[in-house]
């Protein structure tokens, strides 16, 4: 699941990960490589990553408590 893609470009740039925070709470994010998501525990949101680009928009995020 967490194999790099053929182009190797789907991984989020590590330097970007160092400075990314939750746009809503400005709290820290956890990188879920397997699901290609950035998890904000403080906002209870998972932000998707598509083709290596983090989508840090609340309206595109998945609620962690929505089931």
């Amino acid at each position: 699941m967490n194999e790099p893609s053929e182009s190797g470009t789907d991984e989020v740039d590590p330097k970007l990960l160092e400075i990314l925070v939750c746009p809503l709470t400005k709290g820290p994010l956890t990188y879920d490589r397997e699901n290609q998501e950035l998890i904000s525990e403080t906002a209870r949101l998972a932000y998707p990553i598509r083709e290596g680009i983090p989508i840090m928009l609340v309206e595109e995020a998945r609620g962690l408590d929505d089931d």
Partner: protein, 253 residues
């Protein structure tokens, strides 16, 4: 304007192709105010198709993070893939997903009039700048933009521009309210097209949020009138659309 609902991202660069000298002029205008040695990380705020992203990173020998809400604009930016020192992220300017004080320079080009909440966006710029960091703003203002040569040809355009573009005083207020100090303001002479016919060709792409807002008949009539005018002009006469350039500084802590 929601660029994702339009075909503008693909035409955006063609409608704004720069001579390399024009890009260099802007890069030099920025580094005149912002010493290169003080810049390790740049935020390209509302980077659009990333026209400035790669060149800024190279000019300042710095890392650059491009922030843009439009998926289509970012696809154009990523396709340019300038270097591994440039990276992009989809986000809104009013809610930057970047850590406090992470940037030495925030660059904003022709974005202010697109923001739903400019005051909040200005606060976010202030938050992400380190103390002593600078914000370089390339923008239209009511005072400057009403003089652009294409405006008289399009019925209703002047009113749209007056309504959407902020005045210079408003721009200054916006960033001062966000805790920044004005370091400088000047108007940069910007050659937009090599001639009147070239100007008409660029405007015909309609990759300009003001022209895109006009009803089709007003746009078509205006373009015809502009083309007729262009044929009567000296073909060697370049067209200028001068641009406001502000630099703000975040006070040292």
């Amino acid at each position: 304007m929601d660029y994702d609902k339009t075909a503008m991202p693909a035409a955006y660069d063609r409608a704004r192709t720069y001579q390399p000298e024009v890009l260099r002029l802007w890069l030099e205008a920025i580094s005149l105010e912002v010493p290169k040695t003080e810049v390790d990380h740049i935020i390209d705020f509302g980077c659009g198709t990333g026209r400035y992203s790669g060149p800024l990173s190279v000019h300042f020998d710095a890392e650059l993070t491009g922030i843009e809400p439009s998926e289509k604009m970012l696809a154009e930016a990523s396709a340019k893939a300038p270097s591994d020192r440039v990276r992009f992220c989809r986000a809104a300017g009013e809610a930057l997903p970047l850590a406090d004080g992470c940037a030495d320079l925030v660059f904003i080009s022709m974005v202010l009039h697109h923001l739903a909440d400019p005051a909040r966006a200005a606060m976010e710029c202030g938050r992400t700048l380190r103390p002593g960091g600078r914000l370089a703003l390339r923008t239209g203002s009511t005072e400057q933009s009403v003089s652009y040569p294409y405006i008289p040809f399009f019925s209703g355009l002047l009113e749209i521009i007056r309504e959407r573009l902020p005045s210079r005083a408003r721009i200054r207020q916006l960033f001062e309210d966000a805790g920044l100090e004005l370091a400088s303001h000047r108007v940069i002479k910007h050659q937009f097209a090599a001639s009147w016919p070239a100007y008409a060709d660029k405007l015909a792409l309609r990759a300009d949020s003001f022209l895109a807002s006009l009803p089709d008949p007003a746009f078509n009539t205006g373009l015809d009138a502009l083309r007729a005018h262009a044929e009567e002009q000296d073909p060697g006469k370049p067209i200028r659309e001068d641009i406001d350039f502000f630099v703000f500084r975040k006070p040292a802590a």
